[in-house]
Chain length 444, copies 2
């Protein structure tokens, strides 16, 4: 859909045409289209969306658009929206609203729904409880396939997903039946005969990243959430799990590159907030670099005697930084994907040590040849070869150990990535370099 | 399940117990459990898995386990496996097998299936065609809900997903009906009356990453794949899309940290392959650093006169590298998530310039104070403040521009990350530093 045409039609009040366009579009694209409208046009366009789609479109909108719409809604419109909105989307909305609007919304929902909302709002941020929805299909173990299908026909349209059905006994989850089973099995079979009893579930307090990982591992469409007493309280659906995976990955990449993670997109974030998100780590790393500075200052005599020494510093520190960040990236990602654990530390270190030796020899020889060709200086070649190999071994071992210890200490391993590793490795490599230089070249 | 107990039971030939254990476990966990077995125990254990689960477990195994099992299978076992394996898993298997085993497998499948396999094998690597499956539910537009349900009951068990049904007319896709619609709508309605006609689809040649992104954007469970003539040839399911998202992210992170991406896990990769995956970029970056080296060598006189100059080099280059990688990370991720496009280049550069100014001033002032306190040297404080601010502006602009141009030139933007940006920014920051120094301090 061409945005300009749509906006022109809206401006010319061609509401019938606008309505027809909105009718054939899917809810995601409508939300994207509406994002470009001015506030007044936004509420106008939103009112032209057919009733059955409106809540879905609303759920796809940015929170600033949602807040504006809620402010503009009549009581009746608000009531209709809240009736159609799924529980997880309702909670997402409330988290963004100012207090007076929260009160207004809570006035419009039933006591039962209000209690559910308050419970979910109280779960820790980034927990399974905070992203779950409370609408799911529950059945009894004596229900037959035919009865289950009839029950879904009656109530299913108000459930976020009907593709996994939960068999409860005294509010406890005792089995799972898929819609595929219901659609392909004999009508008279009871749930008890069909249900899968080896259930993968999480608790309300399970971290959302861990929850999302279970979807990828077990190819799930939905995952039941139990409270601390073991009662079933909701489900997390695959669409929310997918969002968590994408968001958590972005967060990891940002942390790994000295950025405070932001939930907004690049353009949604203001210049001031961008600067704020970047200055913190830069300051820490800049001030940490004073250690390297102090080390260099101690060796003034050495490079005053042999100025060529200085020109190799960036090559040496960069190579060290790159080697360290290679190792830390592999370990950080391995930890995130549950492929590496703290108890593997000795295996990892031993592996990195051997890799470092191989890499070190290849790089040292290449650099040695380069120095011989360019400077015809065998002593310098040997100095750089030794420093380079030692730096690479140190960098790779620091690079793999720090994320593992971070994990052990419940600190996000992503912090132990390129920027911090580089700063630490810098100090080490400069120390190695000048130590080797003073010994090898007989300086003080 | 405790692995040791399982292995003990297997060794003691307690097959009945082993079979019961395998019966209650899910296929993913069985595959993980079997991964630790020796070859001979592996085939033994695999034969104890109940028929209805065996193909699913097989599909979850590593390719080396799959190859071994295919070699050991009797003709009858191979036939059974191929009957139960979905098309996408069959193709995955064939891609890993040596030629003689491929021939053996193709001998066991029907002509029709063989043709399908060959077609899929010919699609480009990492395309939607290469990850799709050909088993899906297709219906006619005149089919009623009741007829559709009966059809699924009859054939659905052999389809990878039945939750999205495709309405075809002369092999062309004209609509989509969800299982939720079928389960909640009136029995007599025809597909034509129910179906969604605004269809999101991909072609066989669409990149798998782009395909996967559509799942996240539109909350899909399956996505139809059309061939170049517009005929429907298969579907991609959410579980495969999720795997693509996780794998592509790992690949991006690896490329962004100077690693050749590897499809195997950290421990599955040998020391030699780890070294090979790392040496290439390290060599390129190390040799690029000779540019910086040459620049430094030109200013020998300057730091011979004022050795203190040298000690600030790592702080300056590291800060430049970190600033550049912050910007490049945000742009690379924004490009991957389709939030930033090449035509935004001026908006991005202008934003980065303003962010750089803010960040530059804060860092320059902090560093100026530090230098005044430590060295009581106002000239040095001014020199560092100017160099730092100029470096930060340069780094942020290079950091945001390079990934955008890479995208434009169809090169993976992830290459333009920390390591390469650091190397380029190093040369620039050293040049700025010594230029400012020679002018400010009146050196040559």
């Amino acid at each position: 859909m061409n945005k300009q045409i749509f906006m022109d039609l809206l401006e010319k009040k061609e509401f019938k045409a606008v309505r027809s366009i909105l009718e054939v579009m899917n809810t995601v694209d409508i939300a994207a289209l509406l994002a470009d409208l001015e506030d007044k046009e936004l509420i106008q366009a939103f009112r032209l969306i057919e009733k059955s789609k409106a809540a879905d479109v609303f759920a796809q909108m940015s929170s600033s658009m949602q807040v504006y719409l809620v402010e503009m809604f009549t009581e009746k419109e608000l009531q209709e929206l809240l009736n159609d909105l799924y529980m997880d989307d309702t909670v997402d909305l409330l988290e963004e609203l100012p207090a007076n609007l929260v009160t207004r919304i809570l006035d419009h929902v039933s006591k039962e729904k209000r209690d559910q909302i308050n419970t979910i709002l109280n779960y820790p941020e980034d927990s399974a409880g905070s992203i779950m929805t409370t609408e799911y299909v529950d059945l009894k173990k004596t229900t037959t396939v035919k009865e289950a299908m009839a029950h879904i026909k009656e109530t299913g349209i108000r459930k976020e997903t009907i593709y996994t059905c939960y068999i409860l006994e005294n509010r406890r989850l005792i089995g799972i039946v898929s819609a595929k089973d219901l659609m392909t099995m004999d009508d008279d079979l009871q749930m008890e005969e069909l249900m899968e009893t080896e259930i993968i579930s999480v608790t309300t307090h399970t971290d959302q990243e861990e929850t999302a990982r279970l979807f990828a591992k077990y190819d799930l469409l939905a995952l039941p959430v139990l409270d601390m007493q073991g009662y079933m309280v909701g489900i997390v659906t695959i669409d929310d799990a997918l969002d968590v995976i994408v968001d958590e990955t972005t967060e990891d990449m940002e942390i790994m590159n000295a950025l405070n993670p932001s939930e907004k997109t690049y353009f949604e974030t203001s210049v001031a907030v961008h600067a704020k998100n970047r200055i913190g780590w830069l300051l820490v790393l800049m001030l940490s670099a004073t250690i390297t500075q102090t080390i260099i200052a101690r060796y003034e005599a050495a490079f005053a005697a042999l100025p060529l020494l200085v020109s190799f510093i960036p090559m040496l520190t960069d190579t060290g930084g790159n080697c360290g960040s290679q190792s830390s990236t592999l370990v950080i990602r391995g930890l995130a994907l549950d492929e590496i654990h703290f108890q593997d530390i000795f295996r990892v270190v031993f592996k990195e040590f051997r890799v470092a030796l191989l890499v070190g020899v290849v790089l040292a020889v290449t650099n040695g040849i380069y120095i011989m060709v360019r400077y015809h200086d065998p002593m310098m070649a040997v100095l750089i070869a030794i420093s380079l190999t030692a730096t690479i071994i140190m960098a790779k071992i620091i690079g793999c150990i720090l994320p593992l210890f971070a994990k052990k200490l419940h600190v996000d391993p992503a912090i132990m990535a390129a920027p911090l590793i580089t700063t630490i490795v810098d100090a080490g490599s400069i120390l190695i370099y000048f130590q080797v230089a003073t010994h090898l070249l007989g300086m003080v």
